[in-house]
């Protein structure tokens, strides 16, 4: 039912979709939005927020999908190329890509996420300027690429050369930090499902990122969310695209293995 629900969303219409998801929730089942005990942030949403995500015409994140589609075909840089010039149709070339990112990168011997790969393409193959992290363009392109895998299960590789980076990510996740002396795991493993005042703690999954966050009133990246969490526990955040956040992004993506790509998800 879950797969049918998401795939046929456009065709079946929003009212029907909302009806399905509300019913699934009332039965205590999370359908495609869970993999055993692993639960998407979607399953922690209010019915109202779920309804916004369920309906592509209501979901504000779809604006970034549209922008990304335009950018994908736009020629930029000295090489006179667009993304499409090399990759062809995004629906084909980019399908499934999001499920394997972040991943180990042979060139830099580090972990790269989709944002990093987009900028690699821009500088190396298009001879264009890299987009600034968290810029409208980089967010739109990342959302657009990840959107091509919507509904497909997250499946990042954490073995082989990725092992040491994965371990660093896990260590970060479990390291207490800031004046509040809290680790990611204190909230998102030990206390997921509980309330910090009105805030329902989720497992902190990233399968819907870049996500449209109602609090932000725009789409934001995993690294923006990491920075926000770090600052909330009164810790100094790392920079966008830092090695620390790349490793953390890999670990968190692994935590969400099997969850469907939901980009652009809607979150509180």
């Amino acid at each position: 039912m879950g797969k049918f629900h998401l795939g046929s969303l456009l065709a079946a219409g929003a009212i029907l979709a909302v009806g399905f998801s509300t019913q699934a929730n009332a039965e205590g089942k999370h359908g495609m939005y869970a993999n055993g005990e692993i639960r998407s942030g979607y399953t922690y949403l209010t019915p109202q927020s779920k309804a916004i995500q369920n309906d592509d015409f209501q979901n504000p994140g779809m604006i970034w999908v549209d922008d990304g589609a335009t950018l994908y075909e736009a020629v930029d840089g000295k090489a006179g190329k667009s993304c499409k010039a090399c990759h062809g149709k995004a629906e084909v070339a980019m399908k499934g890509v999001a499920t394997t990112y972040p991943k180990y990168d042979e060139d830099t011997k580090k972990i790269k996420n989709i944002e990093a790969q987009v900028n690699r393409c821009r500088t190396k193959h298009m001879q264009a300027k890299p987009w600034k992290y968290e810029s409208g363009q980089l967010l739109a392109m990342t959302v657009f690429i990840r959107h091509q895998s919507r509904g497909m299960p997250m499946n990042v590789s954490v073995d082989g050369p990725a092992v040491p980076f994965f371990q660093k990510g896990e260590k970060f996740y479990k390291q207490r930090r800031g004046a509040l002396d809290m680790a990611c795991s204190n909230c998102h493993i030990d206390n997921a499902g509980k309330n910090a005042r009105a805030n329902l703690l989720s497992q902190g999954q990233t399968n819907g990122f870049p996500t449209y966050r109602l609090k932000w009133q725009k789409v934001g990246s995993t690294h923006r969310r990491f920075r926000g969490c770090n600052k909330q526990v009164r810790a100094t955040p790392y920079k966008y695209a830092s090695d620390e956040y790349m490793n953390l992004e890999l670990y968190v993506a692994w935590r969400g293995r099997g969850l469907p790509v939901e980009t652009p998800a809607v979150r509180n």
Partner: protein, 152 residues
């Protein structure tokens, strides 16, 4: 004018130190933990103010106890449920046990999520504006203890 500006800055620094009080100072009031279970003596030697303590428990930038604990504070919606319900905590714990839990809960339980409210060192990557500061001043700790003691 140069001298005036300097004087103004000096006054400003003095003022900010005075306002922040012991929460901003590097040195904390010394206290003694007894049997790894309690701090029997008041940090300030003065009794706490339960009414102020109640307000601090609500204040999101101070105690923010409600973030994790349900408390008999009905006018505030959305009490957290990460920690235990503090209704009756004044009957379950001695004053000294409450004080240690507020000052540094990890002495009692190293795995707890609860922050240390009167500690300013030994942390990882503290944001600049919180560096060297405690979450609560010594007197604020006493105020909250005085309030929790009333919860019987």
């Amino acid at each position: 004018m140069g001298i005036r500006t300097l004087a103004a800055v000096a006054v400003g620094v003095a003022l900010s130190l005075a306002v922040n009080g012991d929460a901003a100072a590097a040195k904390l009031v010394k206290y003694k933990i007894v049997d790894e279970t309690s701090i029997p003596k008041s940090l300030t030697g003065k009794p706490g103010d339960a009414k102020k303590g109640r307000a601090l428990a609500i204040n999101r930038k101070k105690g923010n106890c409600l973030a994790c604990h349900a408390m008999p504070i009905p006018e505030q919606p959305f009490h957290g449920n990460i920690g235990t319900d503090l209704s009756g905590a004044g009957g379950r714990y001695s004053e000294g046990e409450l004080r240690l839990r507020l000052v540094d809960s990890k002495v009692v339980n190293p795995d707890t999520i609860m922050p240390a409210f009167y500690k300013n060192t030994g942390f990882h990557r503290v944001l600049k504006k919180f560096k060297g500061k405690t979450i609560l001043s010594a007197q604020e700790v006493e105020d909250i203890i005085a309030y929790v003691k009333t919860l019987k």
